[in-house]
């Protein structure tokens, strides 16, 4: 039972804090000989698998490293284009590691703003009067919980679907925010949160929530 990450979004929709508590890295490293039976393509500054799912390598997985050396964007560490490198038979046999691509901070900013808008649309399309925005979004591998304060700040937590006590955790994170970010005289409102005490306290309350599985009020 795990909490994956925490995001804090300000009232304009900009991401002001992000913390990854647990990032499961399902990676597969395999040695290949020429020709490569997977079809790769460029997508969003990365090289991803577009066809040829097998052995733990799925469509959408990105090339993480070649022969143990991490790739940088579309190029290998030497600066050569990855697809060109893999088309050249002289470079084989080659060992390639595939896995889910880690989100860059730019991507996280965009996703947080996307959620900010989706939250509002969820409220607009409501068939019932007086609905809030999206408070909980469920998929088969994670649940996203969102708490919006009266001032428009959103606290978003991604957790395992079976994890309980997230509502209390969200209230606790709000409490930590008001104690260690708002009461910090050097912190400006709506700006990215860079307060050590906020980080420390957030980490410890996430640990407590994961262990307890059920976070009690007043801890």
């Amino acid at each position: 039972m795990v909490i994956f990450s925490v995001y804090v979004v300000n009232k304009a929709g900009g991401l002001i804090y992000q913390y990854d508590n647990y990032v499961p890295r399902a990676e597969a490293e395999k040695t290949f000989s020429y020709p490569l039976d997977l079809v790769l393509k460029h997508h969003d500054e990365k090289v991803v698998v577009s066809f040829g799912q097998r052995d733990g390598i799925r469509v959408g997985h990105a090339v993480l490293s070649i022969n143990g050396v991490d790739v940088i964007g579309k190029n290998t560490a030497d600066g050569k284009d990855t697809l060109e490198y893999l088309k050249d038979a002289a470079n084989y046999p080659v060992s390639i590691r595939f896995g889910r691509a880690r989100l860059s901070s730019n991507e996280k900013l965009m996703l947080a703003s996307m959620f900010h808008s989706l939250f509002a649309i969820g409220s607009q399309l409501s068939p019932e009067v007086g609905s809030s925005g999206i408070e909980m979004l469920e998929t088969d591998v994670f649940k996203l919980h969102c708490f919006q304060t009266l001032t428009g700040i959103k606290f978003i937590v991604l957790a395992d679907p079976r994890q309980s006590g997230i509502d209390a955790l969200l209230r606790k994170i709000y409490e930590i925010y008001s104690d260690f970010a708002l009461k910090n005289p050097f912190y400006s409102l709506e700006m990215p949160i860079r307060c050590e005490l906020f980080d420390q306290n957030l980490k410890s309350s996430l640990e407590i929530a994961e262990k307890a599985g059920n976070f009690g009020a007043g801890s």
């Binding site: 068939p127 809030s132 994670f142």
Partner: protein
């Protein structure tokens, strides 16, 4: 336990079917705009979820909930999307939506040579059977 409304979208985004049973608040925009907004929201949610997900997903986005209603989503492999809004007491309507697809949509629309499933579904039999099915659910309308 209440069902508010149901939308069926095809894979290009056009709304094939819409019906409401217990809707207390309209969206404030025309029906056409509402369908486009609903489809757009679902498209964005699916893309958001696939990027955000820490692990590889099999089924993807299932449902979301607000303080007053819950939206359930089911997509067939052919890209047909079923969206149902209910109140908060319904935790999982996936089987209901799968039943609507396999026992109502496939039976009365796909198997009907006259029905063109790319345009708005105007089979009266489908509408009346769907209505009867929804009203007969253990959910109270």
């Amino acid at each position: 336990m209440t069902v508010h409304n149901l939308y069926i979208f095809d894979r290009n985004g056009s709304c094939l079917y819409y019906n409401e049973w217990n809707r207390k608040k309209q969206a404030g925009i025309s029906k056409e705009e509402e369908f486009k907004l609903m489809y757009g929201m679902l498209f964005s949610i699916r893309s958001f979820v696939s990027k955000m997900s820490p692990l590889d997903m099999k089924e993807g986005f299932l449902s979301f909930q607000t303080s007053r209603y819950r939206l359930h989503y089911y997509e067939t492999p052919s890209g047909l999307r079923f969206v149902m809004n209910t109140d908060l007491s319904v935790s999982n309507a996936r089987e209901t939506l799968q039943h609507i697809y396999s026992n109502l949509y496939v039976e009365y629309i796909v198997k009907n040579p006259v029905c063109d499933s790319t345009h708005s579904l105007d089979s009266e039999l489908f509408s009346s059977r769907l209505d009867a099915f929804i009203r007969a659910l253990p959910y109270r309308i």
